[in-house]
Symmetry: C2
Subunit: 413 residues, 2 copies
């Protein structure tokens, strides 16, 4: 089965790489229309998954993630239109150097080829990941959670039918048509047909995929985001940023989880900050100094410095110096997103260089660590890996490059 | 053992990432001086490897690759000076976007961390790979061929001693101090301590490394380079380029191996080309048309279209059209370096987009496919992979990036 799917994907990828932007964009718009025109079928197929889920005793949260209602179908449709509106990354020539012999040496952005996405219960990932791969000129092989198989299959079918009418090749978007777990293993070994695997889901899934894959994997682990409040920080601005980073949407990977405060300003600053956090319902887990200033705080354990709460809980610690803070973040953080709040130029620059994370911010909320907020238009995930892509991954990160050389008769001497 | 080496490398990497360019450059220059000052020790240690190699009955070619003589020591020393003179890639901020809320979002180039190099007999790779990793701010763990262990060890020792005096951290360059084969396996599983593996050597080594590694690997397979002569090519210029690409240095990966000629001009063009190749001693292996025009040609077999000769042999075939040529190259080539010779603008642009290779050239010799010739200053290899780095890999390809965000109080609404 993997061979049949793989060969079809390879052949689709060769065609996709050369399609004009218009063809790809019209296909995405047709898919968006098709979702709206086929709401009832989408909901009926989704109901089969929900029914089975209920029988299997899935949790309420799981069932909610599975659900496709009108609002979610409209959102899925809108996302396709947004991707259609983005600039096409394929074919861009950049970074040109003129050599002494007159050769013009540059790089050209081009699709990677075939991308495999392995994900869990949310069926909208099918549409989302599928359209980003198509727009960047890649064929895609999707393997969703077994509990969403009916929903994923109908979404992919509607996308392919609509795409085919606009000139997308057959095999552009393929779903692994079985819930057999061995299919994942076959996918992870299919080096000949798949160029990149992106797992989207919990730590366990990502760990399993990256351990078993013979194909390069781009991982995105959780975010234990830190903010360090420097002794020179503007206190009012700092409080605003911290409250925003912790409470604006606590359940996501770029929410603040741990706060470090320079020790000389800790007491004064905490007196300003704590009431603002407490009134938002934030539980503070503090070190000794913090607990001595904030009576509502509970003592933090060692594990608190490494935990991603995804909840209204904040670990707070004092740090003796900038260097102590950056070392602590590099040791206990998750290399996802960390920020410094400071008015000191040298401290800002040192923090940017020293913190070994995918996103390092000065004087703003960690909640900005996001493809949309970074101006990338969309994202297929946030890579916590270092190779190929690091941080929010947009269309560009779904491409590779080749060297292109414009000559006029040069030979090597 | 791997744990001890790995921890040392990690700690060195953290320091290396923050070193000033001057410190790194002075260290490289001190290493270059040290090689020249310690010629006799280098040659004596090398002689131990040669002696053992002779006893083991290594081939003449192998023994030659092992040899360190004065000339090669000087070359190794010069290479270090050249790398010292290159621009430092670490810390460069680029690709900045100003967001509507005033956030300045950019990327900053930074070291990858710890790089593992697995290579075969040539001891100069120790110096070469070591200095490129240091210059790009990475720690490096080197595992050379067992037959070069004494040479590799003394080279690394001299580099570390000279580097330490200039402020390089201990553990910047480490050699796996055993010829035990299990050490390679341990290295390939050391995900915690090594971020990237680069194998340098034959296909067998590369294949073995990439199959067993849990760490990302950047591979560079062989080069079966193609040139396609379009019907509009300038015949005199085309002959010059083809002769250069085939004969200027036939034993390297960017030498021409297969020639496609558009069928309408094939006979006339071959009459011009064949004598020029034959006088250089090139054996022509042709399809039916070629053999009918060139009496000296021998009939090509199917395998000839895929072979990397690294010798004065050229496979020559006619192609009906540009599309036939690009399909043939994508199917039978090695995705390394391919060129078109043409005066037609649309053909040139189509070839650049359609050929799925690391380097795609118009109207120049394939021999230019090289880090030095591309203006990258040096190269650690030519990647035939698509992720992270593709084509010649210079200092920049030994770095990753992080997002850096300059704010002034922004919170997310």
């Amino acid at each position: 089965m993997m061979k049949r799917i793989g060969e079809k994907a390879r052949s689709a990828a060769a065609e996709l790489a050369l399609l004009k932007p218009d063809v790809k964009n019209n296909a995405l718009l047709a898919m968006a229309d098709s979702f709206l025109a086929h709401r009832e079928i989408l909901k009926a197929e989704n109901e089969k998954d929900l029914q089975k889920g209920r029988e299997k005793g899935l949790s309420k949260a799981m069932l909610d993630r599975l659900l496709l209602n009108d609002k979610r179908i409209e959102k899925m449709s809108d996302a396709l239109r947004e991707v259609a509106a983005l600039d096409d990354p394929v074919g861009e020539i950049y970074d040109m150097k003129i050599r002494p012999n007159g050769l013009k040496v540059a790089r050209m952005r081009c699709p990677i080829g075939v991308i495999g996405i392995i994900y869990e219960s949310r069926p909208d990932v099918t549409a989302d990941a599928g359209c980003l791969c198509i727009k960047s000129g890649n064929a895609v092989i999707l393997r969703g959670g077994s509990e969403a198989i009916h929903s994923n299959t109908i979404i992919a079918r509607l996308m392919n039918e609509a795409g085919a009418k606009e000139g997308l090749p057959e095999g552009a978007i393929q779903i692994i048509p079985t819930t057999d777990r061995q299919a994942v293993d076959a996918m992870l070994k299919a080096r000949e047909w798949i160029d990149l695997i992106i797992p989207r889901g919990g730590t366990e899934l990502i760990e399993k995929v990256s351990k078993n894959s013979l194909i390069p994997v781009i991982k995105h682990y959780s975010g234990n985001c830190y903010i360090y409040v420097d002794e020179t920080a503007d206190p009012e601005e700092a409080v605003g940023i911290i409250v925003n980073a912790k409470t604006q949407r606590p359940g996501v990977c770029n929410a603040l989880e741990t706060l470090l405060i320079q020790k000389d300003i800790a007491k004064k600053f905490l007196k300003k900050l704590a009431p603002r956090l407490l009134e938002k319902g934030v539980e503070i887990r503090g070190d000794e100094t913090v607990c001595s200033v904030v009576p509502e705080a509970v003592p933090a354990r060692e594990s608190d410095w490494e935990e991603e709460y995804l909840d209204l809980i904040l670990a707070v610690k004092t740090a003796g110096s900038l260097e102590e803070a950056t070392s602590f973040i590099n040791k206990h953080g998750s290399h996802h997103t960390d920020a410094i709040l400071t008015k000191d130029y040298n401290h800002a620059m040192t923090f940017l260089s020293s913190v070994d994370s995918a996103c390092v911010l000065v004087n703003c909320s960690t909640r900005f660590s996001d493809g949309g907020e970074f101006g990338m238009g969309c994202e297929i995930g946030i890579s916590t890996d270092k190779l190929h892509a690091r941080g929010p991954m947009g269309l560009r990160e779904l491409t590779t490059s080749k060297f292109v050389v414009f000559g006029n008769g040069q030979i090597r001497l």
